[in-house]
Structure formats: structure tokens, C-alpha cells
């Protein structure tokens, strides 16, 4: 069994997943592009990790400009599609609705399936039991890693909210104590000022 050139070509096609976490400033829009071959099954997953109300606008367009997916103010979503034609697909994240909060966005764009581990994956004989057991364990572990990533992002979100709350509690407590003191002192001063005026009028009436 000799390796055909087509097989060699197959393994060089870069079918892979790209996952990135980036910061999206307020009133900003960030677009990513990828060249996809027709018929490839692709999945786009995104999640907002920190910032404001934890939402972002997302939009996915095909090479013709047709909008395949459009959602406003979404915290997390997953979208699977099959490329209907060859070309550059574009997806954008927009934080234009926000005036001062920066958002951190995570996305995972999976194009096609993972590349096979071996050059001679398309062999004549079937996989042995051990090998197919290894393949199923590999798939299961991949989904474990995927769940771990989502758990980590949700934990980061929760932690960011908790730290926000902590800072807010500190500031508001100090602020409130200060306001309390200012209000009570000014109340007393105001009352004193009322009685000081009244005293001069009574003396005038008396004399």
C-alpha cells in the first residue's frame, strides 16, 4: 500500500479550530475572517467573559454578504453551519451600544474536523478494538476539555462580578458613612440658624 499524492494533499489542508480571547473596547467592532471550502461543517461559539452586562452583538456573513447569523446583546451562543460556497467568511463582534464598558470576548471557531493523527488514516483494514477504544476515549476527552473551557469562562465571569461587588460595597459604605455625618451636622446647624433669627424678632416685638 503506497501513499497516493492525493492523500498527502489531504493531510496538508489546514482544518483546525481557532479559539481566542480578546478585549473589545467601548464603541468598537472587531471582525475576523476565514477562508473556507464549500461543504465544510463549521461551528462558531462565543462567550462574553467580563464587562458591563456581559453581552455583545455578533454577526456572521458568507462571502456574498448574506447574513447567516445575527444576534444582538447575547451573552453566550453556539452556531453551526455548512459552508454553502467557497470564499471568505466574516464574523464580527460589536460593542457599539456600550458607552464606557470594555468587554472581554472569547470565541471558538471550528472549521471541519480535526486532522487525522496519522498519514495513513485511510487504510484498508479497519481499526482494531484497542485503536477504536483509543479513538472514542480521545473524543470523550476532547469534550471534557471543551466543558472545562466553558466552566473556566463562567467561573471567570462569576469571579469578576464578585470582585465588582466587593469594590462597590467598600465605596458605598464609606460614602454612606460620610453622607450620614454631613447630613446630621448640617441638620443641627440649620436648626440653630432658625432659632437664632427668631430670637431677634421676639426682642423687637417685646420693646
Amino acid at each position: 500500500v503506497s501513499l497516493s499524492p492525493q492523500l498527502c494533499a489531504l493531510m496538508f489542508s489546514w482544518i483546525r479550530a481557532s479559539e481566542l480571547t480578546f478585549e473589545l473596547p467601548d464603541n468598537a467592532k472587531q471582525c475576523f475572517y476565514e477562508d473556507i471550502i464549500i461543504g465544510t461543517k463549521c461551528t462558531l461559539e462565543f462567550q462574553v467573559v467580563t464587562g458591563g452586562h456581559y453581552d455583545v452583538d455578533c454577526r456572521l456573513e458568507d462571502p456574498d454578504g448574506t447574513v447567516l447569523y445575527k444576534e444582538m446583546k447575547k451573552q453566550y451562543d453556539s452556531f453551526t453551519f455548512t459552508a454553502s460556497r467557497n470564499g471568505t467568511f466574516k464574523f464580527c463582534f460589536s460593542n457599539e451600544f456600550s458607552t464606557f464598558t470594555h468587554k472581554t470576548v472569547y470565541f471558538d471557531f471550528q472549521v471541519g474536523d480535526d486532522p487525522p493523527l496519522f498519514p495513513n488514516e485511510n487504510r484498508v483494514t479497519a481499526l482494531t478494538q484497542m485503536e477504536s477504544a483509543c479513538v472514542s476515549i480521545h473524543e470523550a476527552l476532547k469534550s471534557v476539555i471543551d466543558y472545562q473551557t466553558h466552566f473556566r469562562l463562567r467561573e471567570a465571569q462569576g469571579r469578576s462580578r464578585a470582585e465588582d461587588l466587593n469594590t462597590r460595597v467598600a465605596f458605598w459604605s464609606i460614602g454612606e458613612a460620610f453622607i450620614l455625618l454631613v447630613v446630621s451636622i448640617s441638620q443641627v446647624l440649620l436648626l440653630r440658624s432658625f432659632f437664632s433669627d427668631k430670637k431677634t424678632t421676639t426682642t423687637r416685638v417685646g420693646s
Binding site: 500500500v1 503506497s2 501513499l3 498527502c8 493531510m11 496538508f12 489542508s13 489546514w14 483546525r16 481557532s18 481566542l20 480571547t21 480578546f22 478585549e23 472587531q30 471582525c31 475576523f32 475572517y33 476565514e34 472581554t104 471557531f109 493523527l117 496519522f118 498519514p119 495513513n120 482494531t128 484497542m130 485503536e131 483509543c134 479513538v135 476515549i137 480521545h138 476527552l141 476532547k142 471534557v144 476539555i145 472545562q148 466552566f151 473556566r152 467561573e155 471567570a156 462569576g158 469571579r159 464578585a162 470582585e163 461587588l165 466587593n166 460595597v169 467598600a170 459604605s173 458613612a177 450620614l180 455625618l181 446630621s184 441638620q187 443641627v188 436648626l191 440653630r192 432659632f195 430670637k199
Partner: protein, 222 residues
Amino acid sequence: MEMKALVFCTGLMLLFAWLSPSQALYFHIGETEKKCFIEEIPDETMVIGRYRTQLWDKQAGSFLPSTPGLGMHVEIKDPDAKIILSRQYGSDGRFTFTSHTPGEHQICLHSNSSKMALFAGGKLRVHLDIQVGENTNNYPEIAAKDKLTELQLRVRQLLDQVEQIQKEQNYQRYREERFRMTSESTNQRVLWWSIAQTIILIITGIWQMRHLKSFFEAKKLV
């Protein structure tokens, strides 16, 4: 015969593995713009990043395949904001680092073109691919180096995956501890500040009444 073809294909694959990603995700970057990406990773994890840049050619109306003289400056910061890598690379580059502290590492890229005229009014297309942990392993290369059979290679891959999961779980425990400390601190703060504010309220109330009483007694109204 099969062995020769296998070695040949593996060799070609290694070559392609080292070349910049030609069909990876890409985005556009302005001249002075700095783009940062965050990688939250456990410690002792390897990260390999590869990028390729293309400059917009106004005359041709398309992107040039590659531009010599165009460089990208890569800066990587660890969770303590300490710079662990700050280097200038060419128009195609490959950077790699291993984390020594668990946490959020920041990878920043900005162009540092030597020919400013080339860039004037144009945009730069950057193809980027960042692989973390187990994905950095090049299995055909490992198989060739250690002379592993198929089954051994598959088991090696599973071992690497499990190791990555274990590291992530450890990191998760450390993060959960931080989260718990923050929540307990908030809890304490809420408790103490409520008590303190009630005391301040009572004290100012008492002070107000005493002060006003002495004031009215002085004014002979009481």
C-alpha cells in the same frame, strides 16, 4: 517501500507544521494599533503562536503575498504584568513561551514597520494561530523521533490530554479559592460596615439631641 513514503510524508508534514499558517483565521490591524489576546492557562503550559502578515497594495488593489521589511513586535505579559517576552519578529513569525505562573497571560501584537511609506493609509492583514497545551504537540514528529507504533502514539496523545485536564483542574481549585476569598471579604465588609453605620447613626442621633437641648437651654426656650 511504505516506510519510505511514510517518512517522506512525515517530513513534508513537519515542514508544513513549521511554515506560517496560510489558511488560519485573520483580521485587520491599523498602523499604530495594538491588538491583545488573553490566554488564561495553568502553569507549566506551552503556548505556540504563529502569525503571517500581508500588506494592502493600493495599486494592485489586493493584498501582497508577503512583504519583507515589515515587522511585528510581540509582547507577552504574565498574570503579574511582568513582561516575559518582548521581541521583534519579521513579517512571518513564530513565538513560543511556557507559563510559570497560572493565570491570565496577555499576548500583544503591533506592527513596527521599518518602511513607513509602505504602510501609509493601508491596512495590514494578520493571520494568527495560537495553540495551547496539548495542541502544541506535533504527533507525527513525536512518532518519528521515539519510533512509536500507532497504538503507542494514540496512547501518548491520550496521556497528554489527561495531563492537560489535570493541570486545568488544579488551576480551577486555585481560582475557586480566590473566588471564595473575595466572597468572604465582601461578606465581612457588609457585616462590619452595617454595624459601624448603625453605631454612627445612634451616636449622631444622641449628639444631635444633646447639642440641641443645651442650645435651647442656653436660649431659655426650654
